[in-house]
Protein backbone atom coordinates (compact mmCIF):
# COMPACT_ATOMS: atom_id res chain seq x y z
CA UNK A 1 0.00 0.00 0.00
CA UNK A 2 3.01 2.28 0.53
CA UNK A 3 3.47 2.61 -3.22
CA UNK A 4 -0.01 4.00 -3.69
CA UNK A 5 0.29 6.99 -5.93
CA UNK A 6 -2.14 8.89 -8.02
CA UNK A 7 -0.82 10.58 -11.15
CA UNK A 8 -2.70 13.59 -12.38
CA UNK A 9 -2.62 14.60 -16.02
CA UNK A 10 -4.50 16.94 -18.31
CA UNK A 11 -6.91 14.26 -19.44
CA UNK A 12 -8.05 12.96 -16.08
CA UNK A 13 -8.14 16.43 -14.55
CA UNK A 14 -10.67 17.38 -17.25
CA UNK A 15 -12.78 14.28 -16.73
CA UNK A 16 -12.87 14.74 -12.98
CA UNK A 17 -13.75 18.42 -13.16
CA UNK A 18 -16.61 17.63 -15.53
CA UNK A 19 -18.13 15.02 -13.22
CA UNK A 20 -17.47 16.95 -10.01
CA UNK A 21 -15.84 16.04 -6.72
CA UNK A 22 -18.45 13.52 -5.58
CA UNK A 23 -18.34 11.41 -8.73
CA UNK A 24 -14.55 11.73 -8.63
CA UNK A 25 -14.62 10.06 -5.23
CA UNK A 26 -16.65 7.22 -6.73
CA UNK A 27 -14.21 6.77 -9.62
CA UNK A 28 -11.18 6.81 -7.35
CA UNK A 29 -12.89 4.26 -5.10
CA UNK A 30 -13.06 1.87 -8.06
CA UNK A 31 -9.30 2.22 -8.57
CA UNK A 32 -8.56 1.74 -4.90
CA UNK A 33 -10.67 -1.40 -4.60
CA UNK A 34 -8.48 -3.02 -7.26
CA UNK A 35 -5.26 -1.87 -5.62
CA UNK A 36 -5.65 -2.44 -1.91
CA UNK A 37 -6.92 -5.14 0.38
CA UNK A 38 -9.21 -4.59 3.29
CA UNK A 39 -10.89 -1.56 1.77
CA UNK A 40 -14.35 -0.84 3.11
CA UNK A 41 -16.56 2.03 2.07
CA UNK A 42 -19.57 2.73 4.24
CA UNK A 43 -22.40 5.04 3.30
CA UNK A 44 -25.62 6.24 4.86
CA UNK A 45 -28.00 5.72 1.95
CA UNK A 46 -26.07 8.05 -0.36
CA UNK A 47 -24.30 5.67 -2.74
CA UNK A 48 -25.69 7.49 -5.79
CA UNK A 49 -24.88 10.96 -4.45
CA UNK A 50 -21.35 9.79 -3.63
CA UNK A 51 -20.83 8.41 -7.14
CA UNK A 52 -20.58 4.91 -5.71
CA UNK A 53 -23.22 3.06 -7.74
CA UNK A 54 -20.69 1.28 -9.93
CA UNK A 55 -18.46 0.59 -6.95
CA UNK A 56 -21.35 -0.88 -5.00
CA UNK A 57 -22.17 -3.30 -7.82
CA UNK A 58 -18.57 -4.17 -8.66
CA UNK A 59 -17.32 -4.65 -5.09
CA UNK A 60 -20.29 -5.65 -2.93
CA UNK A 61 -17.94 -7.21 -0.37
CA UNK A 62 -16.07 -3.94 0.05
CA UNK A 63 -19.17 -1.85 0.50
CA UNK A 64 -21.45 -1.53 3.49
CA UNK A 65 -24.77 0.27 3.50
CA UNK A 66 -25.59 1.44 7.01
CA UNK A 67 -28.88 3.18 6.33
CA UNK A 68 -29.74 6.68 7.42
CA UNK A 69 -27.99 6.26 10.75
CA UNK A 70 -24.79 8.28 10.94
CA UNK A 71 -23.96 7.54 14.56
CA UNK A 72 -24.00 3.84 13.79
CA UNK A 73 -22.03 4.57 10.61
CA UNK A 74 -19.08 5.90 12.60
CA UNK A 75 -19.24 3.18 15.25
CA UNK A 76 -19.23 0.39 12.68
CA UNK A 77 -16.45 2.14 10.75
CA UNK A 78 -14.34 2.33 13.92
CA UNK A 79 -15.01 -1.34 14.69
CA UNK A 80 -13.81 -2.29 11.20
CA UNK A 81 -10.81 0.03 11.47
CA UNK A 82 -9.83 -1.66 14.72
CA UNK A 83 -9.68 -4.93 12.76
CA UNK A 84 -7.24 -3.38 10.26
CA UNK A 85 -9.63 -2.39 7.51
CA UNK A 86 -8.98 0.74 5.46
CA UNK A 87 -12.25 2.49 6.00
CA UNK A 88 -13.98 5.37 4.26
CA UNK A 89 -17.35 6.67 5.32
CA UNK A 90 -19.37 9.10 3.31
CA UNK A 91 -22.53 11.12 3.39
CA UNK A 92 -23.48 14.76 2.96
CA UNK A 93 -21.17 17.00 4.97
CA UNK A 94 -23.60 18.10 7.72
CA UNK A 95 -24.55 14.52 8.49
CA UNK A 96 -20.99 13.26 8.10
CA UNK A 97 -19.66 15.69 10.68
CA UNK A 98 -22.35 17.02 12.98
CA UNK A 99 -24.95 14.27 13.26
CA UNK A 100 -22.27 11.92 14.56
CA UNK A 101 -19.83 14.43 15.98
CA UNK A 102 -19.37 12.74 19.33
CA UNK A 103 -18.90 9.34 17.75
CA UNK A 104 -16.11 10.92 15.71
CA UNK A 105 -14.58 12.44 18.83
CA UNK A 106 -14.62 9.23 20.87
CA UNK A 107 -13.89 6.61 18.22
CA UNK A 108 -11.58 8.46 15.83
CA UNK A 109 -10.14 11.20 18.03
CA UNK A 110 -9.87 9.75 21.52
CA UNK A 111 -9.50 6.10 20.54
CA UNK A 112 -7.49 6.83 17.38
CA UNK A 113 -9.29 4.34 15.18
CA UNK A 114 -8.37 5.53 11.73
CA UNK A 115 -11.23 6.32 9.38
CA UNK A 116 -11.34 8.65 6.37
CA UNK A 117 -14.51 10.72 6.41
CA UNK A 118 -15.72 12.15 3.12
CA UNK A 119 -18.11 15.07 3.55
CA UNK A 120 -20.09 15.43 0.32
CA UNK A 121 -21.29 18.71 -1.18
CA UNK A 122 -20.02 20.88 1.63
CA UNK A 123 -20.19 24.65 1.54
CA UNK A 124 -23.01 26.28 -0.40
CA UNK A 125 -23.41 24.07 -3.46
CA UNK A 126 -26.65 22.54 -2.17
CA UNK A 127 -28.13 25.99 -1.65
CA UNK A 128 -31.48 25.22 -3.32
CA UNK A 129 -32.05 22.54 -0.65
CA UNK A 130 -31.56 25.01 2.20
CA UNK A 131 -29.15 25.15 5.11
CA UNK A 132 -30.00 21.68 6.40
CA UNK A 133 -27.91 20.49 3.48
CA UNK A 134 -25.43 23.34 3.07
CA UNK A 135 -22.47 23.05 5.40
CA UNK A 136 -20.56 26.06 6.64
CA UNK A 137 -19.58 24.70 10.05
CA UNK A 138 -17.66 21.48 9.38
CA UNK A 139 -14.10 22.81 9.25
CA UNK A 140 -14.38 24.49 12.59
CA UNK A 141 -15.94 21.48 14.29
CA UNK A 142 -13.66 18.86 12.81
CA UNK A 143 -10.43 20.72 13.40
CA UNK A 144 -11.10 20.96 17.12
CA UNK A 145 -10.96 17.17 17.44
CA UNK A 146 -7.46 15.87 18.26
CA UNK A 147 -5.93 13.18 16.01
CA UNK A 148 -7.96 14.38 13.05
CA UNK A 149 -6.56 15.96 9.88
CA UNK A 150 -8.83 18.29 7.92
CA UNK A 151 -8.48 18.81 4.19
CA UNK A 152 -10.43 20.82 1.66
CA UNK A 153 -9.21 19.99 -1.88
CA UNK A 154 -9.12 22.82 -4.38
CA UNK A 155 -10.37 20.90 -7.40
CA UNK A 156 -11.31 17.39 -8.46
CA UNK A 157 -7.76 16.37 -9.31
CA UNK A 158 -6.74 17.39 -5.84
CA UNK A 159 -9.70 15.46 -4.48
CA UNK A 160 -8.19 12.35 -6.04
CA UNK A 161 -4.78 13.22 -4.59
CA UNK A 162 -6.34 13.76 -1.17
CA UNK A 163 -8.13 10.42 -1.15
CA UNK A 164 -4.90 8.59 -1.94
CA UNK A 165 -2.85 10.57 0.57
CA UNK A 166 -5.46 10.09 3.29
CA UNK A 167 -5.20 6.33 3.04
CA UNK A 168 -1.50 6.53 3.81
CA UNK A 169 -1.85 9.16 6.52
CA UNK A 170 -1.39 8.12 10.14
CA UNK A 171 -4.54 9.69 11.55
CA UNK A 172 -8.18 9.95 10.60
CA UNK A 173 -8.88 12.52 7.91
CA UNK A 174 -11.90 14.64 7.18
CA UNK A 175 -12.10 15.34 3.45
CA UNK A 176 -14.36 18.25 2.67
CA UNK A 177 -15.70 18.11 -0.87
CA UNK A 178 -16.98 21.36 -2.33
CA UNK A 179 -18.19 22.63 -5.70
CA UNK A 180 -20.44 20.99 -8.27
CA UNK A 181 -19.97 19.35 -11.63
CA UNK A 182 -18.13 21.26 -14.38
CA UNK A 183 -16.03 22.80 -11.67
CA UNK A 184 -12.94 24.92 -12.28
CA UNK A 185 -9.59 23.23 -12.67
CA UNK A 186 -6.58 24.46 -10.68
CA UNK A 187 -4.16 21.63 -11.45
CA UNK A 188 -3.76 20.25 -14.98
CA UNK A 189 -0.55 18.29 -14.47
CA UNK A 190 0.91 16.12 -11.79
CA UNK A 191 2.32 17.76 -8.65
CA UNK A 192 3.42 16.71 -5.21
CA UNK A 193 0.56 16.74 -2.76
CA UNK A 194 1.52 16.45 0.90
CA UNK A 195 -0.98 16.59 3.74
CA UNK A 196 -0.02 19.52 5.97
CA UNK A 197 2.04 21.36 3.37
CA UNK A 198 0.40 24.23 1.58
CA UNK A 199 1.00 25.10 -2.02
CA UNK A 200 1.74 28.53 -3.48
CA UNK A 201 -0.07 28.48 -6.80
CA UNK A 202 0.68 32.05 -7.84
CA UNK A 203 3.40 34.45 -6.74
CA UNK A 204 2.93 38.08 -5.74
CA UNK A 205 4.68 40.36 -3.27
CA UNK A 206 2.08 42.74 -1.88
CA UNK A 207 -1.03 40.84 -0.82
CA UNK A 208 -1.51 37.12 -0.16
CA UNK A 209 -4.80 35.31 -0.55
CA UNK A 210 -5.02 32.07 1.40
CA UNK A 211 -7.91 29.91 0.31
CA UNK A 212 -8.97 26.32 -0.36
CA UNK A 213 -11.79 24.22 -1.77
CA UNK A 214 -13.76 25.17 -4.85
CA UNK A 215 -13.73 28.83 -3.84
CA UNK A 216 -9.96 28.89 -4.44
CA UNK A 217 -10.63 29.34 -8.16
CA UNK A 218 -12.63 32.52 -7.45
CA UNK A 219 -9.72 33.72 -5.30
CA UNK A 220 -7.26 32.98 -8.08
CA UNK A 221 -9.34 34.94 -10.60
CA UNK A 222 -9.60 37.81 -8.12
CA UNK A 223 -5.80 37.84 -7.79
CA UNK A 224 -5.38 38.48 -11.52
CA UNK A 225 -7.75 41.44 -11.25
CA UNK A 226 -5.70 42.72 -8.30
CA UNK A 227 -2.46 42.33 -10.25
CA UNK A 228 -3.96 44.45 -13.02
CA UNK A 229 -4.88 47.07 -10.49
CA UNK A 230 -1.26 47.14 -9.35
CA UNK A 231 -1.58 45.01 -6.25
CA UNK A 232 0.69 42.09 -6.84
CA UNK A 233 -1.08 39.17 -5.19
CA UNK A 234 0.17 35.76 -4.15
CA UNK A 235 -2.33 32.88 -3.91
CA UNK A 236 -1.86 30.00 -1.52
CA UNK A 237 -3.81 26.75 -1.66
CA UNK A 238 -4.10 25.84 1.96
CA UNK A 239 -5.79 22.51 1.29
CA UNK A 240 -4.85 21.25 4.74
CA UNK A 241 -6.46 23.24 7.53
CA UNK A 242 -5.06 20.81 10.05
CA UNK A 243 -2.22 20.12 10.60
CA UNK A 244 -1.63 23.74 9.60
CA UNK A 245 1.49 24.61 7.60
CA UNK A 246 2.70 27.04 10.24
CA UNK A 247 6.19 27.57 8.79
CA UNK A 248 4.82 28.67 5.46
CA UNK A 249 2.30 31.03 7.03
CA UNK A 250 5.14 32.66 8.95
CA UNK A 251 7.10 33.13 5.73
CA UNK A 252 4.05 34.57 4.02
CA UNK A 253 3.49 36.97 6.92
CA UNK A 254 6.99 38.40 6.42
CA UNK A 255 6.46 39.05 2.73
CA UNK A 256 2.89 40.40 2.58
CA UNK A 257 1.33 43.74 3.42
CA UNK A 258 -2.12 42.17 3.67
CA UNK A 259 -3.27 38.62 4.20
CA UNK A 260 -6.73 37.65 2.99
CA UNK A 261 -8.42 34.37 3.83
CA UNK A 262 -11.23 33.31 1.52
CA UNK A 263 -13.42 30.40 2.51
CA UNK A 264 -16.79 28.88 1.73
CA UNK A 265 -17.39 28.47 5.44
CA UNK A 266 -18.40 30.50 8.45
CA UNK A 267 -15.64 33.00 9.22
CA UNK A 268 -15.75 31.68 12.79
CA UNK A 269 -13.53 28.68 13.29
CA UNK A 270 -12.55 27.80 9.74
CA UNK A 271 -9.57 28.58 7.53
CA UNK A 272 -9.44 32.26 8.51
CA UNK A 273 -9.43 31.40 12.19
CA UNK A 274 -6.72 28.78 11.74
CA UNK A 275 -4.50 31.27 9.91
CA UNK A 276 -5.20 33.98 12.48
CA UNK A 277 -4.28 31.61 15.32
CA UNK A 278 -0.88 31.29 13.72
CA UNK A 279 -0.41 34.97 12.81
CA UNK A 280 -1.32 36.11 16.31
CA UNK A 281 1.70 34.32 17.74
CA UNK A 282 4.09 36.49 15.71
CA UNK A 283 5.71 39.67 17.01
CA UNK A 284 4.40 41.50 14.02
CA UNK A 285 2.17 40.38 11.22
CA UNK A 286 0.18 42.08 8.49
CA UNK A 287 -3.54 42.68 8.99
CA UNK A 288 -5.90 39.92 7.91
CA UNK A 289 -9.11 40.31 5.95
CA UNK A 290 -11.62 37.52 6.57
CA UNK A 291 -13.80 36.73 3.56
CA UNK A 292 -16.39 34.01 4.10
CA UNK A 293 -19.85 33.47 5.52
CA UNK A 294 -20.42 36.16 8.17
CA UNK A 295 -21.88 33.88 10.87
CA UNK A 296 -25.38 33.84 9.45
CA UNK A 297 -27.91 31.79 7.48
CA UNK A 298 -29.12 34.13 4.80
CA UNK A 299 -31.92 33.34 2.39
CA UNK A 300 -30.86 30.39 0.33
CA UNK A 301 -30.75 29.73 -3.40
CA UNK A 302 -28.51 28.52 -6.19
CA UNK A 303 -24.76 28.19 -5.74
CA UNK A 304 -23.85 31.15 -7.95
CA UNK A 305 -26.55 33.27 -6.32
CA UNK A 306 -25.23 32.44 -2.87
CA UNK A 307 -21.65 33.19 -3.86
CA UNK A 308 -22.81 36.65 -4.87
CA UNK A 309 -24.84 37.08 -1.67
CA UNK A 310 -21.82 36.21 0.45
CA UNK A 311 -19.45 38.24 -1.75
CA UNK A 312 -17.51 35.13 -2.75
CA UNK A 313 -17.37 35.70 -6.53
CA UNK A 314 -14.03 36.70 -8.03
CA UNK A 315 -15.27 40.21 -8.76
CA UNK A 316 -16.59 40.76 -5.23
CA UNK A 317 -13.50 39.21 -3.63
CA UNK A 318 -11.39 41.54 -5.78
CA UNK A 319 -13.40 44.60 -4.69
CA UNK A 320 -13.25 43.78 -0.98
CA UNK A 321 -9.51 43.23 -1.13
CA UNK A 322 -8.95 46.37 -3.19
CA UNK A 323 -10.85 48.50 -0.67
CA UNK A 324 -9.03 47.00 2.28
CA UNK A 325 -5.66 47.44 0.58
CA UNK A 326 -6.34 51.11 -0.09
CA UNK A 327 -7.19 51.66 3.58
CA UNK A 328 -3.84 50.23 4.67
CA UNK A 329 -1.88 53.39 4.02
CA UNK A 330 -4.48 55.62 5.66
CA UNK A 331 -4.15 54.37 9.27
Amino acid sequence: MKNLHFKLDEKNSKIYSRIGSRATFGLIALDLAKKIDNLMILTSDVSTSAGLDRYRKSFPDKYLEVGIAEQNLIGIAAGLASENFNVFTTTFAPFQTMRCCEQIKVNLGYMKQKVCLVGLASGLVLGPLGYTHCCVEDLSIMRSIPNMAVISPADCGETAKTIYASLLYKDSVYIRLTGGSNSDIIYTKDYEFVIGRNDIIKEGDQATIISNGAILSESLKASYLLDKKGISTRVVNMHTIKPLDVDNIKKIAKTSKLIITVEEHNIIGGLGSAVAECLSTLNSSPPQLFIGIPDSYKKSGEYEYLKREYKLTSELIFRQIGEKYEQLGQV
Binding site: N72, G75, I76, S82, E83
Partner: protein, 275 residues
Amino acid sequence: MLSEVKVSTIINISKEIRKSILDMALSAGSSSSHFGGSLSNVEIIATIFSIMKKYKMNDKNYYKRDRFILSKGHGCLAYYAALAHFNFFSKKELKSFEKNDSFLLGHPVINRKLGIEFSNGSLGMGLSLGIGVAFAGKIKKNDYEVYVLMGDGECNEGSVWEALMAAPHYNLNNLTAIIDRNNYQQTGSGEEIMSLGNLKQKTISFGWETKELNGHDVPSLLNCLTKKNQSKKPRMIIANTIKGKGFSFSENNNSWHHAIMTKSQYDLALKELDK
Protein backbone atom coordinates in the same frame (compact mmCIF):
# COMPACT_ATOMS: atom_id res chain seq x y z
CA MET B 1 -24.26 -30.62 30.36
CA LEU B 2 -22.78 -27.95 32.51
CA SER B 3 -20.14 -29.02 34.87
CA GLU B 4 -20.90 -28.06 38.45
CA VAL B 5 -17.25 -27.21 38.94
CA LYS B 6 -17.42 -24.60 36.29
CA VAL B 7 -20.49 -23.00 37.81
CA SER B 8 -18.85 -22.95 41.21
CA THR B 9 -15.66 -21.56 39.69
CA ILE B 10 -17.59 -18.71 38.15
CA ILE B 11 -19.41 -18.08 41.41
CA ASN B 12 -16.03 -17.86 43.13
CA ILE B 13 -14.69 -15.53 40.45
CA SER B 14 -17.76 -13.35 40.93
CA LYS B 15 -17.00 -13.17 44.63
CA GLU B 16 -13.41 -12.19 43.91
CA ILE B 17 -14.58 -9.53 41.49
CA ARG B 18 -16.88 -8.10 44.16
CA LYS B 19 -13.96 -8.02 46.57
CA SER B 20 -11.83 -6.15 44.02
CA ILE B 21 -14.71 -3.74 43.36
CA LEU B 22 -14.82 -2.95 47.08
CA ASP B 23 -11.07 -2.39 47.15
CA MET B 24 -11.18 -0.06 44.15
CA ALA B 25 -14.20 1.83 45.46
CA LEU B 26 -12.42 2.38 48.77
CA SER B 27 -9.12 3.43 47.22
CA ALA B 28 -10.88 5.79 44.82
CA GLY B 29 -11.84 7.78 47.91
CA SER B 30 -13.40 11.12 47.21
CA SER B 31 -13.21 10.73 43.44
CA SER B 32 -15.94 8.10 44.00
CA SER B 33 -16.90 5.27 41.69
CA HIS B 34 -19.80 3.80 39.73
CA PHE B 35 -20.44 1.18 42.35
CA GLY B 36 -24.06 0.14 41.73
CA GLY B 37 -23.87 -0.40 37.97
CA SER B 38 -20.63 -2.35 38.34
CA LEU B 39 -22.16 -4.74 40.85
CA SER B 40 -25.14 -5.53 38.65
CA ASN B 41 -22.91 -6.90 35.92
CA VAL B 42 -20.49 -9.01 38.00
CA GLU B 43 -21.91 -12.45 37.16
CA ILE B 44 -22.37 -11.50 33.51
CA ILE B 45 -18.74 -10.45 33.15
CA ALA B 46 -17.44 -13.36 35.24
CA THR B 47 -19.31 -15.82 33.02
CA ILE B 48 -18.29 -14.26 29.72
CA PHE B 49 -14.64 -14.03 30.77
CA SER B 50 -14.73 -17.65 31.93
CA ILE B 51 -15.92 -18.96 28.58
CA MET B 52 -14.37 -16.58 26.07
CA LYS B 53 -11.19 -17.31 24.12
CA LYS B 54 -8.58 -15.11 25.73
CA TYR B 55 -5.21 -14.35 24.17
CA LYS B 56 -2.67 -11.71 25.07
CA MET B 57 -1.49 -9.26 22.45
CA ASN B 58 1.88 -10.99 22.02
CA ASP B 59 0.25 -14.39 21.45
CA LYS B 60 0.25 -15.62 17.87
CA ASN B 61 -3.43 -16.48 18.27
CA TYR B 62 -4.32 -13.00 19.46
CA TYR B 63 -6.42 -12.37 16.35
CA LYS B 64 -8.60 -15.36 17.27
CA ARG B 65 -9.58 -13.97 20.66
CA ASP B 66 -13.22 -13.35 21.43
CA ARG B 67 -13.92 -9.63 21.71
CA PHE B 68 -15.61 -8.17 24.75
CA ILE B 69 -16.89 -4.60 24.61
CA LEU B 70 -18.16 -2.85 27.72
CA SER B 71 -20.62 -0.44 26.18
CA LYS B 72 -21.77 0.72 29.61
CA GLY B 73 -18.28 2.00 30.29
CA HIS B 74 -19.10 3.21 33.78
CA GLY B 75 -19.47 -0.44 34.80
CA CYS B 76 -15.68 -0.72 34.50
CA LEU B 77 -14.95 -1.78 38.09
CA ALA B 78 -16.16 -5.30 37.32
CA TYR B 79 -14.33 -5.23 33.97
CA TYR B 80 -10.99 -4.21 35.49
CA ALA B 81 -11.39 -6.78 38.26
CA ALA B 82 -12.05 -9.52 35.70
CA LEU B 83 -9.06 -8.46 33.58
CA ALA B 84 -6.85 -8.58 36.67
CA HIS B 85 -8.28 -11.95 37.69
CA PHE B 86 -7.42 -13.35 34.27
CA ASN B 87 -3.89 -11.93 34.50
CA PHE B 88 -4.07 -9.18 31.90
CA PHE B 89 -2.43 -7.06 34.57
CA SER B 90 -1.61 -7.51 38.23
CA LYS B 91 -4.18 -7.02 40.95
CA LYS B 92 -1.90 -4.41 42.49
CA GLU B 93 -2.67 -2.17 39.52
CA LEU B 94 -6.31 -2.01 40.60
CA LYS B 95 -5.21 0.31 43.39
CA SER B 96 -4.38 2.93 40.77
CA PHE B 97 -8.05 3.19 39.77
CA GLU B 98 -8.91 6.83 38.96
CA LYS B 99 -5.52 8.01 40.24
CA ASN B 100 -3.44 10.52 38.27
CA ASP B 101 -1.75 9.00 35.24
CA SER B 102 -3.43 5.64 35.78
CA PHE B 103 -4.51 3.51 32.83
CA LEU B 104 -7.58 2.54 34.83
CA LEU B 105 -9.86 5.54 34.63
CA GLY B 106 -13.50 5.83 35.60
CA HIS B 107 -14.35 4.73 32.07
CA PRO B 108 -12.26 2.24 30.06
CA VAL B 109 -9.51 3.61 27.82
CA ILE B 110 -8.43 1.41 24.91
CA ASN B 111 -5.29 -0.52 25.84
CA ARG B 112 -5.00 -3.75 23.89
CA LYS B 113 -1.87 -4.81 25.81
CA LEU B 114 -3.98 -4.88 28.95
CA GLY B 115 -6.95 -6.50 27.28
CA ILE B 116 -9.08 -3.35 27.10
CA GLU B 117 -10.59 -3.52 23.62
CA PHE B 118 -12.04 -0.02 23.29
CA SER B 119 -12.60 3.27 25.08
CA ASN B 120 -16.14 3.51 26.34
CA GLY B 121 -18.11 5.73 28.61
CA SER B 122 -20.05 7.94 26.32
CA LEU B 123 -23.21 5.90 26.28
CA GLY B 124 -24.84 4.14 23.38
CA MET B 125 -21.72 3.60 21.27
CA GLY B 126 -20.56 0.08 22.09
CA LEU B 127 -23.03 -1.92 20.03
CA SER B 128 -22.03 -0.10 16.83
CA LEU B 129 -18.39 -0.95 17.50
CA GLY B 130 -19.43 -4.54 18.10
CA ILE B 131 -21.19 -4.62 14.74
CA GLY B 132 -18.03 -3.38 13.01
CA VAL B 133 -15.90 -5.98 14.77
CA ALA B 134 -18.41 -8.78 14.10
CA PHE B 135 -18.60 -7.74 10.45
CA ALA B 136 -14.81 -7.89 10.19
CA GLY B 137 -14.90 -11.43 11.60
CA LYS B 138 -17.42 -12.48 8.96
CA ILE B 139 -15.46 -10.97 6.10
CA LYS B 140 -12.16 -12.47 7.24
CA LYS B 141 -13.80 -15.79 8.14
CA ASN B 142 -12.33 -15.52 11.60
CA ASP B 143 -14.74 -17.23 13.92
CA TYR B 144 -14.35 -15.19 17.09
CA GLU B 145 -17.38 -14.19 19.12
CA VAL B 146 -18.20 -10.59 19.93
CA TYR B 147 -19.81 -9.80 23.28
CA VAL B 148 -21.23 -6.35 23.95
CA LEU B 149 -22.40 -5.59 27.46
CA MET B 150 -24.87 -2.71 27.52
CA GLY B 151 -26.78 -0.93 30.22
CA ASP B 152 -30.54 -0.49 30.16
CA GLY B 153 -30.08 3.23 30.88
CA GLU B 154 -27.98 3.71 27.76
CA CYS B 155 -30.85 2.32 25.71
CA ASN B 156 -32.29 5.85 25.97
CA GLU B 157 -29.75 6.78 23.30
CA GLY B 158 -31.01 6.79 19.72
CA SER B 159 -27.70 5.36 18.53
CA VAL B 160 -28.51 2.12 20.39
CA TRP B 161 -31.61 1.68 18.25
CA GLU B 162 -29.68 2.39 15.06
CA ALA B 163 -27.39 -0.46 16.04
CA LEU B 164 -30.24 -2.72 17.19
CA MET B 165 -31.73 -2.34 13.72
CA ALA B 166 -28.48 -3.03 11.90
CA ALA B 167 -27.08 -6.16 13.58
CA PRO B 168 -29.97 -8.47 12.57
CA HIS B 169 -30.07 -6.86 9.11
CA TYR B 170 -26.49 -8.06 8.55
CA ASN B 171 -27.15 -11.52 10.06
CA LEU B 172 -24.33 -11.14 12.55
CA ASN B 173 -24.78 -14.39 14.45
CA ASN B 174 -21.25 -14.01 15.85
CA LEU B 175 -22.49 -11.12 17.97
CA THR B 176 -24.05 -11.39 21.41
CA ALA B 177 -25.43 -8.31 23.13
CA ILE B 178 -26.29 -8.44 26.81
CA ILE B 179 -28.43 -5.73 28.34
CA ASP B 180 -27.83 -5.37 32.07
CA ARG B 181 -31.43 -4.65 32.99
CA ASN B 182 -31.00 -3.24 36.49
CA ASN B 183 -33.91 -0.82 36.04
CA TYR B 184 -32.03 2.22 37.29
CA GLN B 185 -30.10 5.03 35.70
CA GLN B 186 -28.23 8.01 37.08
CA THR B 187 -31.04 10.02 38.62
CA GLY B 188 -33.81 7.53 39.13
CA SER B 189 -35.55 4.40 37.99
CA GLY B 190 -35.85 3.74 34.31
CA GLU B 191 -39.61 3.95 34.64
CA GLU B 192 -39.36 7.49 36.00
CA ILE B 193 -36.68 8.76 33.63
CA MET B 194 -37.58 7.10 30.33
CA SER B 195 -39.49 3.84 30.13
CA LEU B 196 -38.05 1.26 27.82
CA GLY B 197 -41.14 -0.92 27.81
CA ASN B 198 -40.74 -4.53 26.89
CA LEU B 199 -37.14 -4.84 25.75
CA LYS B 200 -37.58 -8.51 24.98
CA GLN B 201 -40.41 -7.92 22.55
CA LYS B 202 -38.74 -4.88 21.10
CA THR B 203 -35.49 -6.67 20.32
CA ILE B 204 -37.34 -9.72 18.97
CA SER B 205 -39.32 -7.49 16.65
CA PHE B 206 -36.02 -5.96 15.47
CA GLY B 207 -34.91 -9.46 14.51
CA TRP B 208 -32.76 -10.51 17.46
CA GLU B 209 -32.64 -14.01 18.90
CA THR B 210 -33.59 -12.87 22.39
CA LYS B 211 -33.44 -14.67 25.74
CA GLU B 212 -34.40 -13.19 29.07
CA LEU B 213 -32.79 -14.50 32.24
CA ASN B 214 -31.67 -13.68 35.77
CA GLY B 215 -28.35 -11.89 35.32
CA HIS B 216 -27.05 -13.04 38.69
CA ASP B 217 -27.83 -16.71 38.11
CA VAL B 218 -24.58 -18.22 36.88
CA PRO B 219 -26.06 -21.55 35.66
CA SER B 220 -28.59 -19.67 33.48
CA LEU B 221 -25.93 -17.35 32.12
CA LEU B 222 -23.54 -20.19 31.45
CA ASN B 223 -26.20 -22.32 29.84
CA CYS B 224 -27.30 -19.51 27.57
CA LEU B 225 -23.84 -18.23 26.63
CA THR B 226 -22.29 -21.64 25.92
CA LYS B 227 -25.12 -22.74 23.64
CA LYS B 228 -24.07 -22.40 20.04
CA ASN B 229 -26.09 -19.81 18.22
CA GLN B 230 -27.85 -21.91 15.58
CA SER B 231 -29.77 -18.99 14.17
CA LYS B 232 -28.58 -16.56 11.50
CA LYS B 233 -29.44 -13.71 13.80
CA PRO B 234 -27.43 -12.02 16.54
CA ARG B 235 -28.21 -12.99 20.10
CA MET B 236 -29.66 -10.67 22.68
CA ILE B 237 -29.70 -11.51 26.36
CA ILE B 238 -31.88 -9.39 28.59
CA ALA B 239 -30.28 -9.98 31.96
CA ASN B 240 -32.51 -8.94 34.82
CA THR B 241 -30.25 -7.72 37.57
CA ILE B 242 -30.14 -5.75 40.77
CA LYS B 243 -28.22 -2.52 40.84
CA GLY B 244 -25.73 -2.62 43.72
CA LYS B 245 -26.09 -6.43 43.95
CA GLY B 246 -24.30 -8.14 46.79
CA PHE B 247 -24.41 -5.69 49.67
CA SER B 248 -27.34 -4.80 51.90
CA PHE B 249 -26.72 -1.07 51.75
CA SER B 250 -26.36 -0.81 47.99
CA GLU B 251 -28.92 -3.19 46.50
CA ASN B 252 -31.55 -1.23 44.61
CA ASN B 253 -30.27 1.91 46.32
CA ASN B 254 -29.60 4.34 43.51
CA SER B 255 -27.53 6.68 45.66
CA TRP B 256 -24.81 4.11 44.94
CA HIS B 257 -24.91 4.92 41.23
CA HIS B 258 -21.76 7.00 41.73
CA ALA B 259 -20.69 7.33 45.33
CA ILE B 260 -17.88 7.45 47.86
CA MET B 261 -17.24 4.36 49.95
CA THR B 262 -16.37 4.81 53.63
CA LYS B 263 -14.16 2.44 55.58
CA SER B 264 -17.05 1.31 57.76
CA GLN B 265 -19.19 0.53 54.73
CA TYR B 266 -16.23 -1.34 53.27
CA ASP B 267 -15.83 -3.40 56.44
CA LEU B 268 -19.53 -4.20 56.53
CA ALA B 269 -19.43 -5.21 52.87
CA LEU B 270 -16.46 -7.52 53.45
CA LYS B 271 -18.39 -9.27 56.20
CA GLU B 272 -21.42 -9.68 53.94
CA LEU B 273 -19.21 -11.01 51.16
CA ASP B 274 -17.83 -13.74 53.43
CA LYS B 275 -21.23 -14.90 54.63
